[in-house]
């Protein structure tokens, strides 16, 4: 049984069909890539999985239960976290504060405990602080814990986004173009981190344009264009797939090669 399954997933906006009868599955422990030219519909797929959009048709199944149409916070509760294409952080909070907020689902926060700062509340927060520091270390932000998120350099901001998603402790992590705007060094670090995250037992669905990353870490890859799946397979198979080459580089190039 796949951890995530998209069955005939379709999304239309008025007359425009952004995602068209998409069938995708992700098994537990895999790193699966979702690639395609700009505008192919990749972020719309993510938006349907994470609850931002309701699917027009089709199903999103997580652990064999339908999550399509649920609200994002309910989906997060089921063990699914994501990052966003554009940098999305709590800009005016520190790195630790960002991560601590990410622990919301296990913070057992209530108005009574918050108001009276009970002993149990204090001990929970102390424990969470320790865990937050661990996550900060893991993504390489140990020296920047007290920095405001908006003051971080771009690469650190992307790392913080991942840290927040990790704080949710998801079974499935959706990463939307995690290395955009990173230099080669940072990109390699991120690739390594993603592999380590899988090593910790999480499953990853990755949207990315950087082919080195996609080919380097994905077990399997789906290629979509104009909202439809045009290819799937291992990195090697995808590289040699005629339709894929055509989609990315055009008819003429594909014909010559």
């Amino acid at each position: 049984m796949a951890l995530l399954e998209l069955k005939n997933l379709t999304k239309s906006f008025g007359g425009l069909t952004a995602v068209n009868e998409l069938n995708i599955y992700v098994n537990e422990g895999e790193i699966v890539g979702l690639i395609g030219p700009n505008g192919a519909g990749k972020t719309t797929v993510f938006n349907m999985i994470s609850g931002v959009f309701h699917p027009t048709r089709g199903q999103v199944l997580f652990n064999n239960k339908t999550i399509g149409g649920l609200m994002p916070h309910s989906i997060a509760k089921k063990g699914l976290a994501r990052t966003f294409q554009l940098t999305t952080l709590f800009a005016n909070m520190t790195v630790l504060e960002n991560i601590l907020l990410g622990f919301h689902l296990k913070s057992h926060i209530g108005y009574f405990g918050a108001l009276f700062n009970t002993a149990s509340r204090r001990s929970i927060e102390q424990r969470l602080l320790v865990e937050a520091k661990e996550i900060a270390n893991f993504v390489g932000l140990e020296l920047k814990q007290q920095e405001l998120a908006k003051n971080l350099p771009h690469g650190s901001q992307r790392a913080l986004e991942i840290a927040i998603a990790l704080a949710v402790n998801p079974k499935l992590l959706l990463l939307d173009e995690p290395v955009t705007g990173m230099n080669p060094e940072e990109t390699l670090e991120m690739m390594q981190k993603i592999k380590e995250i899988r090593g910790k037992g999480m499953t990853i669905l990755l949207v990315e344009h950087d082919m080195k990353v996609v080919m380097g870490i994905c077990d399997r890859i789906y290629v979509i264009n104009f909202g439809k799946k045009i290819a799937e397979g291992s990195p090697k198979e995808i590289c040699e797939n005629h339709d894929v080459i055509k989609a990315y580089l055009g008819e003429a190039y594909a014909a010559r090669n």
Binding site: F84, L89, A91, N92, E97, S107, A114, I164
Partner: protein, 333 residues
């Protein structure tokens, strides 16, 4: 409490002691009344600020003060109940209306929510003005009895017939309200509200049910507005519809904007400063709205973060580091 906390709290404790001792030095009933009114306005501004921390601005806050005031007064005058029961019922009424309205309207965001609350405040005001019994219609209610005495067996009864007693009664309730809202704001709950205000889409993706928290903040804020309305009736002994208009609602927003929104000290500062200024402007009361307007514009355009932000920047400038890493310039106000 450890030493650092005690040191930080010291100025506020000192201020509290001064406030408690004021009636012993200032026996003029008129001035006591003025300060009492400032306390009530502080509660209104602080409770509006509390709602704003989730990113929603209400221009109908006076309407909820009206609910508390009218319902509690009606309980006493029309239904002969004790004022303490009236207090409880008035607060519950504000809470219920806020919960229902909040649930229906809080999915509307931004400017549209402001317009909704503006309309709501007006509707509440007009409705109370329409109903002659038990709300007194456009004339309102006069000669409300003072709050019932508190009788604790073995101790002399605490009466509320003097200005001083009202002063302390209002002070106690306002302090409770401020303490509650301050503590919540400083806790993880306040953290959650802040996350909702800053980036609601990220907040919901980490599992935060933003509608639920927004409604809760709205209800809490409106409860204290209702309480403030009730305290107002204790202070004046009457209710007139014109005490709860859009004009009042905009004043509370102005107190928050001028004072700053980074923490609860902001609305408190804004209220106190503007109210004291108002006292000095009494001889030229005609011009007061113009002066208010100019100050408002100056603060909004040139003093980001309001008076509070300005003070915090000053303190930082003197080398004393702010313990809150939160940059006040970028709070919602």
């Amino acid at each position: 409490m450890n030493r650092v906390k005690l040191l930080k709290a010291a100025p506020f404790l000192a201020l509290l002691i001064v406030i408690i001792l004021i009636p012993f030095f200032l026996t003029n009933a008129y001035y006591l009344g003025v300060i009492t009114l400032i306390f009530i306005n502080v509660l209104l501004a602080a409770s509006l600020w509390f709602i704003i921390t989730t990113g929603q601005v209400s221009l109908g806050h006076a309407g909820f003060a009206a609910i508390g005031a009218y319902i509690s007064a009606a309980m006493v005058t029309a239904y002969g109940q004790s004022s303490w029961l009236g207090l409880i019922v008035g607060i519950i009424a504000s809470a219920i209306v806020a919960a229902v309205i909040g649930y229906i309207t809080l999915r509307i965001t931004g400017i549209y929510f402001i317009v909704v609350t503006l309309a709501l405040g007006q509707i509440i005001n007009i409705i109370f003005g329409m109903i002659d019994y038990p709300f007194g219609g456009l004339i309102g209610l006069m000669d409300l009895p003072p709050p019932d005495p508190i009788v604790i067996p073995g101790l002399p009864a605490i009466e509320f017939t003097s200005k001083i007693s009202i002063y302390y009664l209002v002070l106690v309730f306002v302090l409770i309200g401020i303490l509650i809202m301050h503590r919540l704001n400083r806790s993880r709950i306040g953290h959650i509200y802040d996350g909702i205000s800053q980036r609601s889409n990220l907040a919901e993706h980490i599992g935060i049910n933003i509608m639920a928290y927004k409604v809760q903040a709205f209800v809490i804020g409106c409860i204290f507005a209702g309480l403030a309305g009730i305290l107002y009736t204790y202070y004046t002994g009457s209710i007139i519809p014109s005490s709860f208009t859009l004009g009042q609602s905009t004043y509370y927003l102005v107190y928050v904007a001028v004072g700053g929104g980074a923490n609860i000290a902001g609305p408190i500062l804004g209220t106190v400063v503007l109210n004291i200024m108002s006292i000095f402007l009494r001889p030229i009361k005609e011009f007061e709205p113009i002066i208010y307007g100019v100050i408002l514009i100056v603060v909004i355009l040139f003093f980001k973060g309001g008076i509070l932000g300005f003070i915090q920047r000053l303190l930082k400038g003197f080398g004393r580091s702010s313990t809150s890493k939160k940059s006040n310039e970028d709070s919602l106000i």
